[in-house]
């Protein structure tokens, strides 16, 4: 009897509503609110759990990337150093050398800058910035800056006497064009273009075009590396997936070995193996396949880059492939054979299509990693096997043109995102199986 009354009571509560027709719980709170309250605690816990990683990613990943993208358009140097000059230049028509008022403003700007404490001086960055557009601009500015306190009117003569560059319209065109807080000039340079005297964007002379073909080569090398890892990785992954766990794990260690060896050790090993007087060439000569002056160049070129990077990136192909193949039961192949398919047809029509998610994941991983790979090409690539990341590193470390490096990096990032998006449209990332 007691049970019966309890159920009927519950039934009444289950359908109770408030005055506005919303469902309410037994103590009269709207159901939706009660549910939210119950869920809030769970959400807070979840947030607390992911918060450290989120903060880490924000500080060390998202923020630097945003910074990099900002740097690729950030252009404060001229605006900071020459505010008066830029105002005076507004009336200049862009032809010939500007008139005396501009030079007077330039003098005033430079004098003011000299009065500032050394660390706040804007003349140094100005020289570096102008030098990206016009070599010799840096030395012109630093030489002039030393003598500016001694200049007397007319300043135009004083400046042109101090350095001939001040008498060239090109310099003034650059100052006027780049006298804005934001610029596209790094992207223009990254695409092998430049501004002509009229301010139009034109192609650079043939011998100074590097980046576009470098992007192309990076793409081609990455594709070649992806293809190589696939060709080498697929049979290995297949074999591993057919083995009992015990042996598979043991062999997997061999596949993962590249992860555990120091890069320098590996590099020296490659050099020993691949160089002209190295093990492979010596062996080939010794066996009489090639003669002594027909030795292959296997390192310090594209071949070297492909060999080395294929070795390093192989695990990224094998792991997702292996994990997908493990889940394909051998009964599928048996079923195909029992239906009359030859072993090859069974493999091609039944097994291979089911490994596609793994191939996609491995391919995307290897391709994206290799397109931005830096260290290996830097060590074994020589000149012809260099990739875009090496050029970016050069601009960061040697030429110190961070704006250009940032523009190249941003283009690389956008390129990868576009490829990923394309892949997603074509295949769908939800079918990816990473390891």
């Amino acid at each position: 009897m007691a049970i019966q009354s309890a159920t009927s009571e519950e039934g009444a509560v289950g359908t109770a509503t408030d005055s506005r027709g919303r469902l309410v719980t037994s103590d009269g709170t709207p159901l939706r609110r009660a549910l939210e309250r119950a869920n809030r605690r769970r959400k807070l816990t979840a947030l607390a759990l992911v918060a450290p990683l989120l903060a880490f990613i924000l500080i060390f990943f998202a923020f630097p990337i945003a910074q990099m993208m900002w740097r690729s358009v950030d252009n404060p140097q001229i605006v900071n150093a020459l505010p008066r000059t830029l105002v005076a230049l507004e009336d200049w028509n862009g032809q010939g050398v500007p008139d005396e008022p501009v030079f007077a403003a330039l003098h005033a700007d430079m004098m003011e800058d000299l009065d500032r404490p050394r660390r706040e001086q804007a003349i140094g960055p100005l020289g570096i910035r102008l030098n990206y557009e016009l070599s010799a601009a840096r030395s012109a500015i630093s030489r002039t800056a030393r003598n500016v306190p001694d200049f007397d009117a007319p300043y135009r003569d004083a400046f042109t006497d101090a350095h001939r560059l001040w008498g060239q319209p090109e310099l003034w065109q650059i100052i006027k064009r780049e006298g804005r807080p934001l610029t596209l000039s790094y992207y223009v340079a990254a695409l092998d273009r430049e501004y002509d005297a009229e301010g139009n964007i034109v192609k650079r002379p043939e011998n100074r075009q590097i980046y576009v073909s470098l992007f192309g080569r990076t793409l081609a090398l990455s594709l070649a590396i992806t293809a190589m890892t696939f060709l080498l990785g697929f049979p290995i992954a297949y074999y591993l997936s057919t083995l009992p766990m015990r042996y598979a794990n043991l062999l997997m260690i061999a596949v993962l070995l590249p992860f555990w060896t120091s890069l320098l050790v590996r590099t020296s090993a490659w050099i020993v193996l691949l160089q002209q007087q190295g093990v492979i060439n010596n062996a080939l000569v010794g066996m009489g396949f090639i003669n002594d002056d027909g030795r292959f160049s296997l390192i310090y070129n594209q071949t070297g880059t492909i060999i080395a990077m294929t070795h390093i990136l192989l695990p990224f192909m094998v792991l997702p492939l292996y994990s997908v193949m493990r889940t394909i039961p051998p009964t599928y192949l048996r079923a195909a054979k029992s239906l009359g398919a030859t072993p090859w047809t069974a493999f091609r029509r039944v097994y291979f299509p089911q490994t596609l998610p793994g191939i996609g994941a491995g391919g995307v991983l290897v391709f994206i990693i290799s397109i931005g790979y830096y260290i290996t090409p830097a060590l074994v690539s020589g000149q012809s096997g260099r990739m875009i990341s090496n050029e970016i590193a050069r601009h960061i470390q040697q030429s110190l043109n961070w704006g250009l490096a940032a523009a190249l990096g941003t283009m690389l990032l956008v390129g990868v995102l576009v490829l990923y998006w394309l892949y997603n449209r074509l295949v769908g990332t939800d079918s990816l199986k990473f390891g």
Partner: protein, 370 residues
């Protein structure tokens, strides 16, 4: 179906002295001799690990026999690769290709045989209609229920019109009702199409209801090969008696053998009459077995020569169509009597003493294991 035909050596499928070892140390299949007639439905029944799948896989060509010969239609097939054997097969997990639609799955065996497109479509539709799945040709296997996948697997194994179809526990993953329905469908199809079927299961009801002949496997050997009714009513040894259906067993010693009856002294001291099946000499230990439904508490229902014995009622279970009464008989506390739920049937009270009996020919004296 003729029982004896199955024993002939000119069967459609013949296992001739087949042995199989995976590791070179233990035999998983020990000296298997078996013959399946054309059009016969043979079931391999046995506990887990008894070697049923292994036997099937050797026939399909996925395992090689360690010794002995397997003949298909009179020709040895040990060296024929699986894809040339032309044997249809239904796997336990169906093994439908997940990246193909149902239609493509069915058309696959026809394609690899080089059949033209229009013929292919016709045959696929016919096979799908055969299992009442005609509307599902464009679905993927993942979009089908277990029972539907089962039918598709069946249709795929039949679509290329093999003469022999193997099924390895094809209904294992289905719920009871669906399983019973599919049992019926499979037998109907097999008989309509006149195909020879070798069916593996460890569900004895399935084996009994579907088969022409059942081979009971244990430990790599066939313990008995017989039609279902013979298997149930005349188990040849105590393993088969225990494995098929429910059975009451009491151990004892053979006291006397007279033609087709013998006297057994049960371990409790009582003497009973039994039918000697697997005993040969006086003094031998034996296990007598009686089916619960052949035990009777109502004397009037038994013939005069029925054997009566005292029993204590331990438990009475009402099961709807039958009553199940657990008794203590000759020291055995797990003796079960099954009685039909008839209007005049007595419901025995636990604790009461009753007299039960059975016909001597229903009490079979079998071998005593250990």
């Amino acid at each position: 179906m003729n029982v004896v035909a199955a024993q002939h050596s000119d069967g459609f499928v013949v296992y001739d002295g087949v042995q199989k070892s995976y590791d070179g140390e233990t035999l998983v299949v020990k000296d298997l001799n078996l013959s399946v007639a054309r059009g016969e439905f043979l079931t391999m029944l046995g506990p887990s690990g008894s070697g049923k799948t292994t036997c099937l896989m050797m026939l399909a060509g996925f395992e090689t026999a360690t010794s002995g010969e397997i003949l298909l239609d009179g020709k040895p097939i040990n060296s024929v690769p699986p894809h040339k054997r032309g044997i249809g097969m239904v796997f336990q997990n169906y093994a439908l290709f997940p990246h193909m639609t149902v239609g493509e799955n069915l058309s696959f065996p026809l394609e690899v045989r080089g059949m033209g497109k229009s013929d292919r479509e016709k045959n696929v539709m016919r096979a799908l209609d055969m299992v009442q799945m005609g509307a599902f040709a464009n679905r993927r296997p993942a979009q089908l229920s277990g029972g539907q996948q089962q039918r598709i697997a069946l249709a795929r194994a039949l679509v290329f019109e093999p003469e022999l179809v193997l099924m390895d526990e094809p209904l294992g993953a289905l719920d009871k009702q669906l399983r019973e329905h599919m049992q019926f469908e499979i037998t109907r199809l097999a008989h309509d199409l006149g195909i020879t079927t070798v069916y593996v299961t460890h569900d004895q009801t399935e084996a009994l209801t579907m088969s022409d002949n059942v081979a009971v496997f244990e430990d790599g050997r066939i313990q008995q090969l017989a039609p279902p009714d013979v298997l149930y009513e005349e188990p040849r040894n105590s393993f088969v008696a225990q494995f098929i259906g429910e059975n009451n067993t009491i151990d004892g010693v053979v006291k006397e053998i007279r033609g087709d009856t013998c006297v057994v002294q049960l371990d409790g001291g009582v003497l009973i009459d039994a039918k000697p099946v697997n005993v040969s000499k006086v003094g031998e230990r034996t296990r007598v077995s009686i089916r619960p439904e052949r035990v009777e508490a109502n004397k009037e229902r038994l013939a005069d020569d029925a054997h009566m014995i005292k029993a204590e009622v331990l438990e009475f279970i009402y099961m709807g169509d039958v009553f199940r009464t657990r008794l203590k008989v000759a020291g055995n506390e797990n003796f079960v009597m099954k009685t039909r739920n008839a209007p005049d049937q007595v419901r025995h009270k636990p604790g009461s003493m009753i007299e039960i009996g059975w016909m001597p020919q229903d009490c079979r004296a079998l071998d005593c294991p250990q």
